[in-house]
Symmetry: C3
Subunit: 334 residues, 3 copies
């Protein structure tokens, strides 16, 4: 694109050569020449002036030495450029000759199915779905319109996806929940006959596991985003618009509310209830149910302001022991 | 099934319409109509009466308003229904035309091998094994009778499975252990030439990694169940009938006894010895060997009753500091 | 090999029957007969004498009862035997008939591509690369000479590998970073249009995820070794010759220096800077940037000697409370 074309795309005011070629959106720190960055403040502008970007997106309150475009909201303008630069993983139209689709499965004519995908009995692939190479779509799975199943993702039987669900490479939905009973000498497997339901507009990260329910459903609510390497155990229910960061583990039957944010490596014991708008900081461990919205941290997870206070005092333990010793000495000397 | 058929199956006494259609075993809380739930106590009976189940499995001491079946052990009866409802992932008999089986590999005629499975030189697939699509069975692997290898599971070379071992989707057995030596300027890879042995009746969760030994074997004892996203490092030995929950990490050469239970996200340092019947609570970290049976928690893992006491006192640190300050003031005022 | 052949290979002095058959390098504790072990001290020699090894590699200061070979450095000699015993996962020369290679992709004639591998548009596979079954090499990926991509590894678009990079089974490079903006009612996906760069001589463990950058690059420096089930988030930069153990998580945009070692299950918050030669012990959590080399532990990660002191004092909290109570009683009694 030329700088003039960018200005039109973002609805901004051009300050520089219209014909300047712009390669891609870049960060202000980048060294390679050719891209366009954004800056919202003087300090970021300084960084961007020294970086490799050949043009900048700026608020009307700033002016650059490099060519720039004045916009109302530089971040939103940059976001628009990112969306334009995004290219989905390549996939040809139609069903590839090497894909194995069971005759009883239904694939919408507008769906794309890549090489070596396997779609089992009774599965349904909705309009505009993209099923990438090596994806395994098990018996009676149901994919709503516009889903993307990346290479090597595995859906066991009866996994139901809403619309526009993204499942990244290597994710496994619907494996057996971890349930056994001890019979006195060994563990008997409790059959896991339930389903997995992922509602519309969810994104499931690479190598994340979401187990099927023992009976009933493991469920992830609409708009919830889950990062890589996350474990969602059997019969867990997660609300809408949550953000679950990488390596989080949620144990069996726990119920998570709406708009919950879980930091990296945090976790929850089984059968907990975590209310709406709870924020778990990284590594927090929910060992008792949490009702009230707010930020929680630590092991066990407690309100952050309390947890931080205790953490700080823990660091002062050497001082505490010294002060105690001194008091004891004074008492003994008396 | 009809309610009468269920009663015969579980060996119970029918109290309700024989012809009532039962869709599936369900939980007492379920809303959808049609299933059968179990209740062992008054309180669960109340929940089940309000749920969608159209019939109940009850002990002889309870009577429901809904149709019910009296049994000696409602939980065991429900378990029998679950086993009947269980359906293995679909797989046709024989070896699929697209599976690539090396001519030197041996596949029992009763084994099933799905589309796009790859079985390498010298591998042996025992009677009744189910090898699902995209499974990779490396050179000289050996699968005992009745194993199930789910889609995308990878067995590097010389992985030996006993009988009835289940390996879930995406699990990786036999990748190189993480071993290097620092030569003063870079890390030299220590070749990992050992094997992996998984004994009979083990279950390995989705996306779990069990590394091959440097020399010798990484070994998992009979009947041990391992959840998703677990890391078992090179030369680890795990005893029989253990239960290792999700996201646990066991570092190199650690020896785990029999019937050990490891809670979610717990872990062990390398070269530890963990005795029989040890229970690690969630997130526990074994930094010193543990001999005695019992429950351990925290970082480092200590007997739970001690760890809990310390944890509670940690929460009282603000009070402790206040009491100390008061004492100091009194001493100074004197 | 015969013992005489081993002696020549390791450049040692034979003390035993030249024709003795040696099966493989083994550990001193092994029970099976036939292998060769090494011992560097009297105590290891004792263990090895009682194990199944039929011959030993010993320093010139020790003599065994079993046949042995005197060498300058038993560990290095054993290492040489390991290297000789190592066998790469089997793979035939050339491109397998079932591999799907886009016509615009370039595969060096010396590269090996296994069954059911998929290589997309514009990808380049360098000399001597081994691409195993079910590997997915996305559009415009670039693999330097001598790389090994194990079964089921997934490279999304624009992943660039240096030379001799090893990517283990199930690893996912280039999935979308976890980036969203909250628009008041839902999370909008921030397009992830950057790349992943893995420099020469890196090893990436099984089931490890390295996300593409939002813009720019997620980068791993030369010689860095990463274990299984690790999460490297978008825009992270890791230096050279680091060792990152299993289940570590590094959040977005964090910069890690050279020769950093991260213990199992350790982690870092986003936008941190971790200096050269920092060592994080297992489970350490970097919540503030770390400049100075040295060992760090705990949550938050602090210099180990401080963290250990605090940890020990924490264990003495029951004693502390008791001492405080006693002092209070004395003060009140007065």
């Amino acid at each position: 694109m030329t700088l003039a074309e960018v200005a039109i795309l973002v609805g901004g005011e051009l300050n520089g050569p219209a014909e300047l070629e712009i390669s891609e959106p870049v960060s202000p720190e980048v060294k390679e020449l050719g891209g366009i960055a954004f800056a919202e403040s003087e300090s970021y502008l300084e960084i961007a002036e020294q970086g490799g970007a050949v043009a900048l997106l700026l608020p009307r309150s700033l002016r650059g030495k490099k060519p720039f475009i004045h916009v109302d909201n530089p971040r939103a303008a940059f976001f628009a450029l990112l969306q334009r630069a995004e290219q989905p993983l390549s996939l040809n139209p139609g069903v590839h000759a090497t894909a194995i689709v069971d005759p009883t499965a239904t694939v919408d004519p507008s769906a794309q199915v890549g090489p070596y995908a396997v779609i089992e009995r009774g599965a349904r692939i909705g309009a505009g779905c993209r099923v990438y190479p090596f994806a395994y779509i098990g018996e009676n799975c149901d994919l709503g319109a516009g889903c993307a199943i990346f290479p090597h993702a595995v859906l066991y039987t009866r996994v139901r996806l809403g619309e526009r669900v993204i499942v990244h490479a290597g994710a496994v939905l619907g494996a057996d929940g971890f349930g056994y009973v001890w019979d006195g000498s060994k563990r008997l497997k409790v059959p896991q006959v339930g389903a997995v339901v992922i509602e519309s507009d969810c994104e499931i990260g690479a190598l994340t596991a979401i187990d099927r329910a023992t009976v009933g459903e493991t469920r992830v609510g609409p708009g919830t985003k889950i990062d890589n390497l996350v474990q969602i155990a059997h019969n867990v229910e997660i609300g809408s618009h949550c953000a679950i960061a990488s390596q989080v583990g949620i144990a069996g039957s726990t119920k998570v509310g709406d708009r919950v944010m879980a930091g990296g490596q945090s976790g929850s014991a089984d059968h907990m209830v975590i209310g709406n708008d709870v924020v778990l900081t990284a590594r927090a461990a929910v060992l008792q149910s949490i009702e009230s919205p707010g930020e929680y941290m630590g092991f066990p997870a407690r309100p952050s302001f309390e947890a931080k206070k205790v953490l700080l005092l823990t660091l002062k333990l050497p001082e505490l022991f010294a002060r105690l010793k001194k008091l004891e000495k004074r008492a003994n000397d008396r």
